[in-house]
Symmetry: C2
Subunit: 334 residues, 2 copies
Amino acid sequence: MELFDLGDFRLRCGATLSGATLAYKVHGTLNAAKDNAILFPSFLGGAPEALEAWIGEGRPLDPSRYCIILPGHFGLPPTSSPSNTATPYGRGAFPAVTIADDVVAQHRLLTERFGIEALQLVLGWSVGGLQTYEWAVRYPAMVRRIASIAGAPKPSPWTRLWLRTVTEEPFTADPAWRDGFYADAADLQGAARRVGHAAALTLTPDTFYREGQEMWRPLGFASADDFVVRFWENFWLALDPGDVVAQARKARAADPAAGGDLAEAVGRISATTAVVAFTGDHMFQPAECRLDADRIRGARFHEIDSAFGHLATFSLSAQDVKAVDHVLEELLAT
Amino acid sequence: MELFDLGDFRLRCGATLSGATLAYKVHGTLNAAKDNAILFPSFLGGAPEALEAWIGEGRPLDPSRYCIILPGHFGLPPTSSPSNTATPYGRGAFPAVTIADDVVAQHRLLTERFGIEALQLVLGWSVGGLQTYEWAVRYPAMVRRIASIAGAPKPSPWTRLWLRTVTEEPFTADPAWRDGFYADAADLQGAARRVGHAAALTLTPDTFYREGQEMWRPLGFASADDFVVRFWENFWLALDPGDVVAQARKARAADPAAGGDLAEAVGRISATTAVVAFTGDHMFQPAECRLDADRIRGARFHEIDSAFGHLATFSLSAQDVKAVDHVLEELLAT
């Protein structure tokens, strides 16, 4: 991972992060015209490297053709986060970062380090989708195409309740949390595992665990409990609790209209837009994603008939991967 | 509420509850032939009185025609529960009760106190549905009809994960829990509220909170948050945490085959059976309930097109109530 020094970075909330850092990784080469860049922000807890499975020669995100930039976002190290920020803003005092802050920081990376003035595509899954919409609303002249995949411009009421209940409260209600100044992340291991249980319960379609269906089986797990421990508990155990809470609060507050009229803000998007949703995704429900697409001129809505729901974010199903690749291929051909 | 003294009640797990008690309430009068009784067990945390909304003259559960008995179940006071049981089996030492224990105790109430040998109908919602199936499998000669409403013979893998994640862990992971020997239930108020949040997240259909739909609004709540606090937090705050955990563990272990072949056990049901499921119920999914019905000779499956999902258990929608009444009317006419 490369690091981009944001200097003293002024956040939307008014706080200034001294020596703020945005991590990123690049696949492919920027051409002389600097017009072959694709930006691919990542999801909650998802390191940019988690997105590398989508990049490959002969595939839509082809590094021999495009310069694909995978940026970090605030709350996810090595980008500035509660766990890596110095006093006075470290740990439990980390300011309320926003998706808009992520996008402004990413914009500085692209313009200041690379001199990029146009993006062929911005795409993202889940919280990466929140960043994608923010990009299209904030920098319309710069973004030629967007793909929101299992994402939305703003989380739904259910998704906001999810972010609070599943990813924040198990940590913040734990006495070891101590206002975010826990002595050791390991003290919150039990909480992280409970986050995993609640995620396992809510991020898969209703059919996922059903007897006879048992979608954890082709993924190589011995039982539903084995899947819950080795996949879901493991995912959250690898993250710093304060960083998770910062990202969750950021996602919960996402709003490209910044409190204004969302339909109007999204209606101003000029990028060619693909909105991709997955059957059984409670988090970004197909019916809601379709409404997002309806608000954007010329947007195409795609529902992928998936057995994975929001879990599709982890690219576990070859069939889902193929369907998403197909959408991206079509989009990049326009 | 009347109390039935079960004496020294031997549980399936081998423990003996001394002076065990089963609460119950009766609507209507048992006829001379003692053949007009209906048994209506209740759901998790649902006092028998919560079911009285279903009883009324001119309705299927007509007290001028039937003797309708609303029994309690273990873990729900005043029936024997962690919170009302004396040493050595009180509080955190309360034994692992089962749905089979509930049904055996209820059978003793009916036969010993009332001399009832046949039931026109056993019906129940949710955990009441678990009891209903156990009745039909355990006492086939006694049960003429059953209606499982938003229930199942055995909770699905998702529902077992739900019971652990939503109703047990927030309590048992709280340091105030102290192995179930908490100093005061009020010390677990935060945990009870978190149970409420997770229930609010998981017991409604995906559409419930959707902007434009907002099903909390016709229920008289000012906002989704208001609904979460006044409905869901309130529901769990009214219950003793140890009692909730005992009921949740009991429901999680429900199995009328007692570890044997479930299809075979359910296939032995001779009662005329109605299986009622609600669109959007994640807990007892219509597709799964249909499979339950398929295993029972002559069973009729009904999916009620509801906006409430598992929340239908609380009888909040006049439309759902009407649809269930219609099913019960048909069933009692057979």
